[in-house]
Amino acid sequence: MEAGSEPLPLDILITNVVCVFRVRCHLDLRHIALKGANVMYKRDEGKVVMKLRRPRVTATIWSSGKIISTGATSEDEAKIGARKCARCLQKLGFQVRFGAFRVVNVLAVCSMPFEIRLPDFTKQQRPLASYEPELHPAVNFKIKPLTASMQIFSTGSITITGLQNSCSPPSLIFPHPKPRSLLPR
């Protein structure tokens, strides 16, 4: 494990922040579907999907008052989006109280400037990495200190999922071992 032996300027972009929160009251989904703007009613699954424009988030609303919001690009944006959604519901007439906001999942994307030889990489990282070319073209690598996982593609693109907050990515990328190869093409 050569930590930071190559000082690469890596851009780790957070692409998605998923959070859950509650409005602490029961919601009438039919009423929201009829009166609300930018909503889709999925009656078979019992939920309403509301899409907001300005933090570009999609909120899935259940009648119990629990809401999942996805699509935000930062934690602050996720909170703003959540509050906006609650405000919309308040305007529709429900006694909304914003509560229990929690970031559940953060997805980030990173790109290595070199290509990666997946079979060799997997052999070196045996218990943590799993590669099944028949099922998925990427290697599933579990990052040990966090309970996050990375999908590593042979082009060098990396997708990180399962993070708890957006502060952890930079610290975890560099302890990443480097038995990779630069391809002279």
């Binding site: 290509e115 030889r117 997946l118 079979p119 997997t122 052999k123 045996r126 218990p127 799993s130 590669y131 099944e132 070319p133 028949e134 099922l135 073209p137 593609f153 042979s154 082009t155 190869s181 391809l183």
Partner: protein, 329 residues
């Protein structure tokens, strides 16, 4: 199963020597302290010091009946019960009452009066069904007995762990079969296992990952060479073409011409290249059917190989179609 008649161990009789005898009453007259050795073949007790046969026909471990090879298989009088499968079933020693023979055992409709209800635990029943299913699947692709045994063992381990309890038993069985083939060094593609099972590739893949996690094992990565002999012989290609295709695929992976491509697609493209260069040409569709690869996929991988075609062939390959005349797709 041979019935072993136990020797009744007599209690220690009054023995004159200060050291206690082992529990038998008989002893060699010249060596009273010697521990007698059993010759189980003849059923004798022999003194190890002087070789005197002290007790004759104490234990007979021979078979009570003689069976010959040309006899009925169904009637082995030496057996008292079914052949046990103790590794897999936990040793069910229950016996059943046989079918009635006389007229009194049948009622007026011709049904037998004593209904033989074999009560097996549901666990055993589920396992037996799974083993039967595994046998059927393996039979369809002609897998040898060692792989089937390994699959059965894997299934038993997974079943007893109960981690994958919610999953369909057939899915777990198919995934175990896949893992067993891999572990034995003769991997089958997921599509090949799909072909003999009713479970979808997605579900088998999911169960596969779950089983590896549950049993905490891992399997080796698949390589292109694992499938060459099977695909080539299914296509009817001669040995030279098979060797060429293996060489091409290995060189392609070494030179990393096909990053991120599944080894099966690379193998299929290599077979295509080798067959097109030889006298036995095969179309992409034929190879795609055998390998379970779409022909566009073969085309994609072939394009990547085509650039360096000249370097990929083995040096002693006899070209029927030279390298520059290979089809360019």
């Amino acid at each position: 199963m041979i019935i072993r008649k136990r020797v009744k161990m007599a209690a220690m009789a009054a023995v004159s020597s200060p050291r206690p005898h082992p529990v038998t009453k008989i002893y060699c007259p010249s060596h009273p302290d010697a521990v007698l050795v059993e010759d189980y073949r003849a059923g004798d007790m022999i003194c190890p010091e002087c070789g005197l046969v002290v007790g004759d026909r104490m234990i007979d471990v021979g078979s009570e009946w003689r069976t010959f090879s040309n006899d009925h298989v169904g009637k082995d009088p030496s057996r008292v019960g079914d052949a046990q499968n103790p590794l897999l079933n936990g040793g069910d020693l229950s016996t059943v009452i046989g079918k009635g023979t006389g007229a009194a055992s049948f009622d007026e409709f011709g049904n037998s009066k004593y209904q033989n209800r074999r009560a097996m635990t549901s666990q055993d029943r589920a396992m037996l069904t799974a083993f039967r299913e595994i046998n059927t699947m393996a039979d369809r692709i002609n897998l040898p007995r060692n792989i089937v045994d390994r699959t059965n063992n894997l299934f038993k381990q997974v079943y007893e762990q109960r981690c994958l309890k919610g999953r369909s038993n057939d899915a777990i069985a198919s995934a175990c079969l896949y893992i067993a083939c891999r572990q034995e060094g003769v991997p089958r593609t997921f599509k090949e296992i799909c072909a003999v099972s009713r479970i979808s590739k997605k579900e088998i893949g999911r169960c596969f990952k779950l089983i590896l996690k549950a049993l905490e094992t891992s399997v080796d990565l698949i390589t292109t060479g694992d499938f060459m002999s099977r695909f080539c012989s299914n296509l009817g290609l001669p040995k030279a073409v098979q060797i060429a295709a293996t060489h091409i695929a290995r060189r392609a992976v070494d030179l990393d011409l096909v990053p991120g491509r599944s080894p099966i697609s690379v193998a299929a493209a290599a077979i295509y290249m080798a067959s097109q260069a030889s006298a036995d040409k095969r179309t992409q569709k034929e190879i795609g059917d055998i390998a379970g690869v779409a022909d566009v996929t073969i085309r994609q991988s072939y394009r990547l190989l085509y650039f360096k075609a000249a370097e990929l062939f083995p040096p002693d390959f006899k070209f029927d179609t030279p390298v520059d005349k290979l089809p360019q797709l």
